[in-house]
Symmetry: C2
Subunit: 254 residues, 2 copies
Amino acid sequence: MSGRLTVIGLGPGDERYLTREAEDALQAADALYGYRPYLDRVPAREGQIRHASDNREEAARAEAALRHAAFGGHAAIVSGGDPGVFAMAASVCEAIANGPEAWRSLEVTVVPGITAMLAVAARAGAPLGHDFCALSLSDNLKPWELIERRLDAAANAGFVIALYNPVSRARPWQLGKALALLAHRLDGSTPVIFGRAIGRSDENLTITTLAGAGEVTADMASLIIVGSRETRLIARPGLSPLVYTPRAIESVSA
Amino acid sequence: MSGRLTVIGLGPGDERYLTREAEDALQAADALYGYRPYLDRVPAREGQIRHASDNREEAARAEAALRHAAFGGHAAIVSGGDPGVFAMAASVCEAIANGPEAWRSLEVTVVPGITAMLAVAARAGAPLGHDFCALSLSDNLKPWELIERRLDAAANAGFVIALYNPVSRARPWQLGKALALLAHRLDGSTPVIFGRAIGRSDENLTITTLAGAGEVTADMASLIIVGSRETRLIARPGLSPLVYTPRAIESVSA
């Protein structure tokens, strides 16, 4: 079977974050599939078909692209950030696992991209400079109880925590509850970073503390980084502070 | 003070992984600082000075670049992968925190890059498709006891685990001990991915299980991903299997 499917990470914002590999992969495909705002970021190429779909239609999008590849085409699915982090690469694997046997013969390539936590961390300094975890706050696909257990384990063990999918219209209370849980484990002075639409013209970075985090507004375009006991802040005259997690840790209690 | 310092992520391998932002930032600097193999990846530009240094000289490199910026220059430090993940951005912040007051007035910019775990994950499918953590196995800068505690917490809470700095000449036994610890928490059939020099011409990807992981050779250029209880594998005729962690988790015991 000659069909191909490429899953391409566009990075968090405009084309500054595209890698050369991603640019080449976008050119090579004969059909692009994706959530409309991501597709809109990709310049048009003559002869290339586009299939825009909605945010919640990951499974249907993956299947449509796989069907195109199974007919011998070269399909590409575009994904914001990195397709491997809470994004389309897992949806494609799930579709192949549950789909017709023939889909297992297709050539599948994942092209990595800058995921949101790396872009937000870069804006703030180096908050992910030591051990960290990435956790989705969405309880659409897992029980809330499990999210709480993971937050608890991560904070106790001293991981910096990057929160993906912190808020949506259907999930208004989860972020507040997560921050309250973390406030029981970590000092109120722990640095917390809210990055919104980083890499876009309307980007916004807010550096606060765990005690003050409840007052910051977040939405679907936000990524939040909660520091560990080690994370610290450098105040700078006339400049935004730098937040970083040192490379060295002296004691086991950290 | 007009000096500037940019910390630039080159991604994991050749120039395919460079973002446009990184290319522009490399051009803009008048002096480049970095570990020699990373500097060697960057094409020469007339009038741009280069200061190559050794692997273990992060602090001295950061200070040298900051001094250049403090004299009004535009210094750039190059970093493999992403500078914010176990790399130079934290060293720069540490140097500023401990350095002369004037360094706090310098403009510091971090340019994110594709970090090793994203490149390895992309080659394997979508092993980081759900909650995961990144942990350095180096006990040069933290007690081994703390590494064990974090491995334990991450495996118990169901995080996929990306292991950075798994082995070096001075640290020959740490990876074996870490895998043995994880084997007490996770099933022997748990997928484990060894990526070595991903993105370079000599790249190598080995997909194995936790029970078989002890037989795979790793070195300083390796990045290892250990699956969670949810991570699974799709066998494919004539192709490398796909490893992925599904987006949905049904039960809390996962």
